[in-house]
């Protein structure tokens, strides 16, 4: 199968999954014991007013009409209105996206920058102290709940040593870009420093699990590659060891590592939700938690759809990348 056909097939499958996601999210409201009208109305409301609100929300329509109303707006970016604020859900979700995305990206950068060299070091110095150190680090990193790590980082580095702020995001990359666009370079640099200072602890909190995971993967992948015949052949041919290790073995190790990074994106977003809760980071996670507490179903549903659709799209992208760098892959 050619690459383009593979991509078309993969995209169609993705569309099917997205449709499933939307349907599951639609169904979520019906397993909830509460009535959405109760969110808007006091319990002792006049039954007539109540009936009117239910009609306005379209809740007395037949199920298929409600389903169609829910699903038909989504391709045009219409995720409905918040029950609480009566503002479009899509705008609220999009407004929260930058905070979550920059947290996820910062965490990924932390993870990749630390984990890949550490994994390589661990594999090339097998059974030396560096290897044991890296192995213990990755075991502990995989086993530590990130919210607790965040609480500990706040406790030690923010409360006791006062090196970092405990929470908040006074400025985001979007704000910095705006400053740059306005030509105020000085303020933009200041803003960036503030941003970096505030995102450090959340990024470490979110990134540690991935650092540990990628260290493990890089180590085992690298060990596997270094044991292959082509490595022995290159060494026998007289290629310098650095070239064998870092050009050939490492490159082949990175392919599965990249796939896993893509696949773990869901875990990353899940982790971001709780990291945001620890650091009062005003992103999608905070929005999701607040919408559950306020019983604001449309906001919850919209956020879930955005997260899941994003995940599906990234996975298609990762698959395409994988197929591109590794043309032998049997397109499944």
């Amino acid at each position: 199968m050619s690459l383009s056909r593979f991509l078309i097939k993969r995209s169609l499958q993705g569309l099917l999954v997205i449709w499933g996601v939307i349907t599951v999210v639609f169904g979520l409201r019906f397993i909830s014991p509460g009535d959405p009208a109760n969110v808007l109305l006091p319990p002792d409301v006049d039954p007539e007013v109540r009936a009117q609100v239910i009609a306005e929300l379209g809740l007395n329509e037949p199920l298929y009409v409600q389903y169609w109303q829910f699903i038909s707006g989504i391709p045009f970016g219409d995720l409905g209105l918040s029950l609480v604020t009566r503002t479009p859900v899509a705008a609220r979700v999009v407004a929260k996206l930058p905070a979550t995305l920059e947290l996820a990206i910062a965490a990924t950068i932390v993870a990749v920058v630390i984990a890949i060299p550490l994994g390589v070091l661990s594999a090339t110095r097998r059974h030396e102290p560096a290897d044991y150190g890296a192995t213990v680090f990755s075991l502990v990193g995989i086993s530590t709940p990130n919210f607790w790590l965040g609480v500990m980082l706040i406790l030690v580095l923010a409360v006791q040593l006062n090196l970092f702020p405990t929470s908040q995001r006074p400025i985001g990359l979007d704000g910095i870009a705006m400053l740059l666009a306005g030509g105020d370079v000085g303020a933009a640099v200041d803003g960036f420093v503030t941003w970096l200072w505030h995102i450090t602890l959340p990024a470490i909190t979110l990134g540690t699990y991935f650092t540990a995971l990628i260290t493990r993967l890089t180590r085992s992948g690298m060990l596997d590659q270094l044991g292959r015949t082509y490595v022995r052949a290159s060494r026998a041919k007289g290629l310098p060891e650095t070239l064998v290790r870092y050009k050939h073995a490492l490159r082949n190790t990175l392919i599965p590592v990249i796939t896993v990074i893509g696949l773990q994106l869901g875990t990353l977003i899940g982790g971001a939700v709780i990291t945001e809760a620890v650091f009062a980071w005003p992103g999608l996670g905070t929005l999701i938690i607040n919408s559950i507490n306020a019983r604001d179903w449309p906001v919850l549903q919209g956020s879930l759809i955005i997260v899941a659709v994003g995940f599906v799209l990234v996975n298609i992208l990762v698959d395409a990348l994988y197929a591109y760098v590794n043309p032998q892959v049997a397109y499944d």
């Binding site: 499958q13 099917l16 999954v17 997205i18 499933g20 996601v21 599951v24 979520l28 409201r29 397993i31 909830s32 014991p33 075991l139 502990v140 995989i142 086993s143 530590t144 709940p145 990130n146 919210f147 607790w148 609480v151 500990m152 706040i154 406790l155 409360v159 006791q160 699990y209 995971l213 773990q264 869901g266 875990t267 990353l268 977003i269 899940g270 982790g271 939700v273 709780i274 809760a277 996670g285 999701i288 938690i289 559950i292 507490n293 179903w297 919850l300 879930l304 997260v307 899941a308 659709v309 995940f311 599906v312």
Partner: protein, 354 residues
């Protein structure tokens, strides 16, 4: 179901690996702690003592400055018609009565950790079992029947995978609410534990029920069954081509019987390895839900970490201790998982944590 060769591999790997033995010890200790909580817990996990709050753990003491009424010769000092106050430094020393300290309400942290183990282990075991049950049924059917059944089942698995497990879990618990089932603690209701406690001089009044967080168990299973489905499907796909499966079919065995008697037993090893890792993942998930206040549990490691946050500048141990309990338990389970994987080498994938 477990062959002699498998057992030999397990033993060999266990002799070779110190970490595997460490993992088993940790897991056994944690399970024992959870089971025998009413015997070994120094106090009831909910017993408050407000005069004794925020006591540091053994080896630590705290220094706090307080505004107190100035006293001279046993009477209050009054100047210009007002009571005079002075700053006094108050030292709180650790006592052996509370080796891990006390929380903001003066509850014993060690007792809360011991009882919290019950919540974690109940959710871990029941959640994993339910996830395995759903996942194995789905995966075996998908791999065994292939074709359209496979397509439908595995596409629904893909839909589940599109949601980050924590996000889906929060949403499900959020919309469902928190149903909990208090089940009587047999050690307490039969009087064995109280008798033991008064015999050795421990305070009595232990909780008579164990709270089974029903919704949380169902939810963690619903978000994690997919991993079992994938592994079971992969196994079923290859096992269905084996001669003995074809022979069973030729002899007229029903599909159900073939799957349960011939396919499942041969797929059990990777499922067991996955289950070990999943117990760890589900314990992490439960603690995250409790931390966010969504699980409804009031004795849970994650919940206690959240409770300790309001004392982060005065009593660091309240959040620290339950977190250490989670880390130790999950490390133990991961080490056991590594041991099983190295010994049995099933080559599976699976999600690790929160």
């Amino acid at each position: 179901m477990i062959s002699e060769r498998t057992r030999r591999n397990l033993r060999r790997e266990l002799r070779r690996s110190l970490l595997a033995r460490l993992g088993i010890v940790v897991v056994v200790l944690m399970v024992a702690m959870a089971v025998f909580a009413p015997f070994i817990s120094p106090y009831s996990p909910s017993q408050q003592n407000l005069d004794n709050s925020r006591q540091p753990p053994l080896g630590f003491s705290t220094k706090e400055t307080k505004e107190v009424t100035k006293m001279e010769d046993g009477s209050v000092v009054i100047e210009n018609g007002q009571v005079v106050t002075e700053t006094q430094t108050v030292y709180t020393n650790a006592t052996a009565a509370h080796p891990l300290g006390t929380d903001g309400n003066g509850r014993d942290i060690l007792s809360r950790i011991i009882y919290g183990a019950r919540t974690s282990i109940l959710v871990g075991l029941f959640g994993t079992s339910l996830a395995a049950l759903i996942g194995v049924l789905v995966g075996l059917s998908a791999g065994f029947y292939r074709g359209r059944v496979d397509d439908v089942l595995m596409r629904s698995a893909d839909i589940m995978l599109a949601f980050p497990s924590l996000v889906l879990a929060i949403a499900l618990v959020g919309v469902w609410g928190q149903a909990q089932a208090p089940i009587p603690d047999p050690f307490v209701t039969t009087g064995i534990a109280p008798a033991f406690r008064s015999a050795v001089g421990l305070p009595t009044g232990m909780p008579e029920t164990v709270v089974l967080p029903g919704t949380v168990i169902v939810v963690v299973a619903l978000v994690n069954w997919v991993w079992f489905a994938r592994v079971a499907r992969g196994e079923a796909l290859s096992i269905r081509e084996e001669e003995y499966v074809k022979a069973a079919k030729a002899l007229g065995a029903s599909d159900g019987r073939t799957m349960l008697r011939h396919v499942l037993p041969n797929a059990i090893t990777p499922i067991l390895v996955l289950a070990t890792i999943q117990v760890a993942a589900i314990i992490l998930l439960e603690s995250a839900l409790s931390f966010l206040g969504f699980s409804g549990a009031d004795v849970s490691w994650g919940f206690d970490i959240a409770l300790g946050r309001q004392y982060q500048s005065t009593a660091w141990w309240i959040s620290t201790m339950p977190g250490l309990a989670i880390v130790v338990t999950v490390i133990g389970l991961n080490l056991v998982g590594d041991w099983l994987r190295d010994a049995l080498d099933p080559g599976i994938e699976g999600e690790g944590g929160v």
